[in-house]
Symmetry: C2
Subunit: 207 residues, 2 copies
């Protein structure tokens, strides 16, 4: 199966578009519909599908429910994925309160911070001190972690996560984590995103 990063991102977009099309009552779609909805070409859509062995009907397009089901399979949506959040600053809190994870079968199992005023065993998502991080990951077999701590603490938190058995990390700290292990790391850097945007806006002005 494909290892093309862009292809995975596109599949994710297709799924997102499909869910909205389904809500609108669509029963079948054509590759061109998905292309329009996600800003790509119909050939690209079909090629992506073919990489994942997703097929439709000649002249009949694709069945929306079938597509969604196959994509849910790709992204492991038949299982619940437990996630922990480390760092309850603004971003951590935003994630904690974020609706919409549930329908993606993502469950926030716990959050961690160093600030004792934030601890709370009894909230829907319990908040524990950082010292309990390793123990919690191991006991609950957590595979996914979000790092939302300041940059100086990020590498240290990452090391604890790695040692405790985390397999995937979403990193909001504005540094590239030093990662030799097999842990998958996706970085989201808000400054960089805006910077990137500015680059393209400037480039567009020049042309």
């Amino acid at each position: 199966m494909s290892t093309n990063k862009n292809c995975i991102v596109r599949i994710s977009r297709y799924k997102n578009a499909l869910n909205r099309l389904k809500a609108l009552g669509f029963v079948k779609v054509f590759s061109s519909n998905l292309a329009d909805a996600t800003g790509t070409s119909s050939a690209q859509v079909r090629k992506d599908f073919s990489l994942f062995g997703i097929t439709g009907n000649k002249r009949g397009g694709y069945n929306v429910d079938d597509l969604i089901e196959q994509m849910n399979q790709i992204f492991g949506k038949h299982l619940v994925h437990k996630v922990i959040i480390v760092g309850l600053g603004n971003i951590g809190k935003a994630l904690l309160r974020y609706k919409g994870f549930e329908k993606e079968s993502i469950k926030i199992a716990a959050a961690f911070d160093i600030d004792s005023s934030k601890f709370n065993d009894n909230s829907i998502v319990p908040v524990y001190p950082l010292e309990k991080l390793s123990e919690f990951i191991k006991e609950n077999e957590i595979k996914l972690g979000v790092i939302a701590v300041p940059d100086v603490a990020a590498q240290q938190v990452f090391e604890i996560m790695k040692k405790s058995g985390i397999k995937g990390v979403l990193n909001f700290a504005p540094i590239s984590l030093n990662n030799d292990s097999g842990v998958v790391v996706n970085n989201i850097n808000l400054e960089m995103e805006l910077e990137n945007l500015i680059y393209y806006v400037i480039a567009a002005e020049k042309s």
Copy 2:
């Protein structure tokens, strides 16, 4: 000049790494240092630099300050970029309070919401009703907008932004904005980011 998306992202990462190296007292760096710090190859670093006409010294590497300066030029850091945020839910608030934009010459000029309890003319970043959005963009010649409203409102907000003259949008709403115009749109979808991570974690388990 290059139109390679990945290359721009890498340049951004190099800059981030350079700032940290500078803080550690580094005066010069080699392509291999930057490669290590950002998880790429030294040949890639040099190739990226050559696309932007960035040069160093044979056997002497690159001067850190020079590199940072050239990259700041690329990303328009000599100008202040005014940004508005629409939607003061969790993500909007997180952005509003986000430190670190200043040093990137990004200034949040105002925020907008429909909830009147959030309005505040006198805070450091004023919060206005959505009705004032168009007027504010035009009067202050805002070029960059952040959409942090629920999905159902996102397209509508985007249309207002487009009509008022916005050139670049960072979209946190979980939909692909319908964009035929020349406006640059970068999407950040938290669910999709986690989903993506899960894909790679599952893929790693299988192999």
